[in-house]
């Protein structure tokens, strides 16, 4: 499999910052992969996301080293608009992801297409295409500013998906939503990934990370402390020392093992973990 994202010894320091936001990041994600980036606040997760969509170094000034390649091309050599055709980006605050030029959700979805000069017929076609999977059919004529946070976040997701990107970068996009709203977004993203979209997601819900990621990148204070499959990353007992949270499922299986109640590799899902507990109970 080809690597769709290739980060090669990448470091970056913002202009006015004393220290590097990220240092020596080095990893690859295959096409269709699902990468979750985890780590405490201030560990450089957002900087990495910004680098994947070209906001670093084109929008944020600073000094960098190494390279970030998406679809084989260096991000630094393209414009943000070019990159955004390949990489969709959704971030935390729903209200800041509206264009503020649209009176209806349909217009909001079509905003990026309009800037690329796409004719209206094509806009209508693409809106029809994405409204279904994003559950936006009933909202197309509503004013986006009057929607709930979860709904706006779906609109924001839609307005990037409409460009048909091959990579989707989600920077804590469910943090400000309630559980139901974030689950909805999450199910959509999971479905997109199953259909072949490469996803990079920053998330605080470790159980969710363990459930769906096929790659996990753990950062701490800008350093890459672990990269690999969830089993590898969460299986490493040293991870918590870096301030990185781990899924409770992992904690349970590890404690069971330490107490000599049930052994085996770390468990990552509710089912596997329950089975392990069952084993410990002697069932």
């Amino acid at each position: 499999m080809d690597s769709i994202i290739k980060v090669d010894d990448f470091s970056f320091r913002y202009r006015d910052a004393k220290r590097c936001a990220v240092r020596h990041l080095d990893f690859e994600v295959p096409e269709g992969g699902f990468l979750c980036v985890v780590g405490p606040n201030g560990s450089g997760k957002s900087t990495l996301c910004n680098a994947l969509v070209g906001l670093v170094p084109h929008h944020f000034n600073g000094k960098g080293r190494g390279s970030v390649r998406v679809l084989g091309q260096k991000v630094a050599d393209q414009t943000i608009a070019q990159i955004s055709c390949n990489v969709g980006f959704v971030f935390q605050n729903p209200f800041n992801q509206l264009s503020y030029t649209a009176g209806t959700v349909a217009e909001e979805l079509a905003y990026g297409l309009g800037n690329h000069g796409v004719p209206r017929d094509e806009m209508v076609r693409r809106i029809e295409q994405i409204a279904g999977p994003l559950h936006l059919e009933g909202l197309l004529d509503r004013n986006p500013l009057e929607l709930s946070g979860g709904q706006i976040q779906r609109v924001a997701l839609g307005s990037t998906l409409i460009m048909n990107p091959r990579v989707l970068v989600l920077d804590e996009c469910t943090t400000q939503l309630d559980p139901l709203g974030s689950e909805e977004i999450f199910d959509i993203v999971k479905k997109l990934n199953e259909d072949g979209m490469t996803v990079v997601m920053v998330d605080h819900d470790m159980e969710r990370v363990a459930r769906c990621a096929d790659h996990v990148l753990a950062l701490s204070r800008g350093n890459q402390v672990a990269f690999g499959t969830p089993e590898e990353v969460f299986g490493d007992p040293a991870l918590e020392e870096h301030g990185v949270d781990i899924p409770d499922y992992v904690r349970i299986s590890r404690t069971l093992e330490d107490e000599g109640l049930a052994s085996g590799p770390v468990t990552l899902t509710e089912g596997a973990c329950a089975e392990r507990v069952g084993k410990a109970l002697g069932r």
Binding site: N50, V53, L55, H58, H59, T79, I80, A81, I83, S84, F89, F91, N93, F95, N96, Q97, L98, S99, Y100, T101, A102, G103, T104, A106, E107, L109, A110, Y111, G112, L113, G114, N115, H116, G117, V118, P119, R120, M123, V124, I127, D141, N143, L145, S159, T160
Partner: protein, 266 residues
């Protein structure tokens, strides 16, 4: 005016809604200009009457009348006092109010100003009620307005309701911290900073993310003309409307010239 009018063909104002937005704006501007140029308040008064009739036909008579009268009466009284009594151009006295004398020239000037103001007020009101701003901007962009100017107009309009909501939340948050919004005038003036400060600070932080959003959505692209999802309406009545307005303007200019030349006794 950000409200999108529902495209309802059976509504009484469907005809006005269906007109091209730029044609509507142009007509209002041209008619207003005509009312300024025409050498007597009569034209403006006629236009105002016509606007009342139009508003009644469209089903907006009540709010329209409320707006026009609410603005018109105080401004008329004020101008009649200021210009009618104290205009340096006053020569012909038409009434003696005791404390001052009402002059014909000043009165005519005051009335001209009032009808012109009412023409613009009424014209814009009807335009706003029946025009979706997004459509107007889309239309103007098609006609050559830079997309960034369009952004400024629409974003300014859309940001206000959200800011008002935010201000209400900030008020709650500050009162919960013991901010007293009553009290004497000085303490109330002081209270503006806790209320406005968070709006400004958080807006500056938001500006960062919003500009990121614009950049990732191709805001800066200008190799190709930007397109819009909004359908710009065109009606057969557009051209006649604009032409008719233009004719009125031309006639007004002619009337003004004639009046200056002394041909027309106005």
């Amino acid at each position: 005016m950000s409200q999108r009018p529902v495209a309802d063909d059976t509504a009484r104002d469907a005809w006005l809604v269906a007109l091209n937005p730029t044609a509507k704006v142009a007509s209002v501007l041209v008619l207003g200009l005509a009312s300024i140029v025409f050498p007597s308040p009569i034209l403006g008064a006629l236009i105002v009457v016509a606007l009342f009739a139009l508003a009644a036909a469209m089903g907006y008579f009540r709010p329209f009348a409320k707006l026009m009268i609410g603005f018109g009466i105080p401004v008329t009284l004020m101008l009649l006092l200021i210009q009618g009594c104290y205009s340096p151009q006053n020569v012909t006295v038409i009434a003696d109010l005791g404390f001052a004398r009402l002059g014909l020239e000043g009165t005519l000037y005051a009335l001209s100003t009032v009808v012109t103001l009412l023409t613009f007020l009424g014209g814009f009101y009807l335009m706003n009620r029946t025009t979706y701003t997004g459509e107007l901007v889309a239309d103007l962009t098609e006609r050559g307005l830079p997309p960034k100017a369009g952004y400024l107009v629409l974003a300014s309009l859309n940001v206000v309701p959200q800011m008002k909501r935010r201000m209400a939340t900030i008020q709650e948050a500050q009162v919960a911290r013991g901010l007293d919004m009553g009290g004497d005038i000085i303490s109330r003036v002081r209270a503006t900073v806790p209320l406005l400060g968070p709006v400004v600070m958080s807006s500056l932080a938001d500006a960062e993310e919003r500009s990121m959003m614009l950049e990732t959505h191709g805001f800066h692209l200008n190799e190709r003309a930007h397109t819009s999802y909004v359908v710009v309406r065109h009606a057969t009545a557009d051209k006649p409307l604009v032409i008719a307005s233009a004719v009125v303007l031309v006639l007004s200019v002619a009337a003004r010239i004639a009046s200056v030349a002394g041909v027309l006794p106005l």
